[in-house]
């Protein structure tokens, strides 16, 4: 555990977490349905960014993408921008509000959209740097 990495993670998270809050609030003020589009959006977007970063790390020789960039962008920013706890709680809330179909659509839709976004950006990043 390096001191520099701790600082980079903090910096990324200090941007990612408030950005998630702002996106969720902006979405809630425009859309009043029960589908949690705000969390869906940050989770898919964050998966795309982390997919691109990981695709570049994998495609390039070791050490070309600095550990600091992985700490600030991957662990800090993407990690804090996206959330599993809110995702889980929103799903439980949908079930309790007797919207089990919406709950299942939310979970499956988030996982599939996240995977597609991450895979696409991983592939694109590999092409871009390869």
């Amino acid at each position: 555990m390096s001191g520099a990495a701790v600082l980079w993670v903090a910096l990324g998270a200090a941007v990612g977490a408030p950005l998630r809050y702002l996106v969720d609030r902006a979405v809630r003020s425009r859309y009043r349905g029960r589908f949690p589009w705000g969390t869906f959006a940050v989770n898919v977007a964050g998966s795309a960014v982390l997919g691109a970063l990981t695709g570049a790390v994998v495609a390039l020789p070791d050490g070309v993408v600095p550990a600091a960039v992985q700490a600030v962008l991957g662990t800090g920013f993407c990690g804090a921008l996206t959330t599993y706890s809110t995702f889980g709680y929103e799903t439980v809330t949908l079930v309790e509000k007797r919207a089990p179909v919406t709950a299942v659509v939310y979970v499956v839709g988030s996982v599939v959209a996240g995977l597609l976004a991450a895979a696409l950006s991983w592939w694109a990043a590999g092409l871009a740097v390869g």
Binding site: M1, A10, A13, A14, L50, T54, V58, L115
Partner: protein, 147 residues
Amino acid sequence: MTGERARARRREASVLGVVAAGGVLGAEARYGLGVLLPHGPAGWPWSTLVANLSGCLLIGVLMVVITELTVAHRLVRPFLGVGVLGGYTTFSTATVDVLTLAHAGRPLAALAYVVATPVLAVLACGIGVVATRVAAGRAPQPREGGR
């Protein structure tokens, strides 16, 4: 009017501040967990799974405590829920872990992980909610019209 506005802006700034501070704390805890439980590209991502499952359990407990059992200070939910637990858990790493496993030639592990994470996470959150209500002597289900 301007005083009202300034006050609203200060409230907004305080919410963003505690979300950022909580997010940093949560992300550092997740980073520490990753250092404690390291894994290679082909290894099962225990650190992310543990963070996501424990974070889901804890938000279930937290939300019942602050929305059903107590009247919490207005910054408790932004700090602990949006900040700490939101920063501690991660959807992006859970997603990219799946691709990393598949890329490392472990498609079955990738499939198991992509199914297990959401199923167990939602279950953990539900257990946190119900167990907290039961521990507080409430019915496992919220009353109709409540919330």
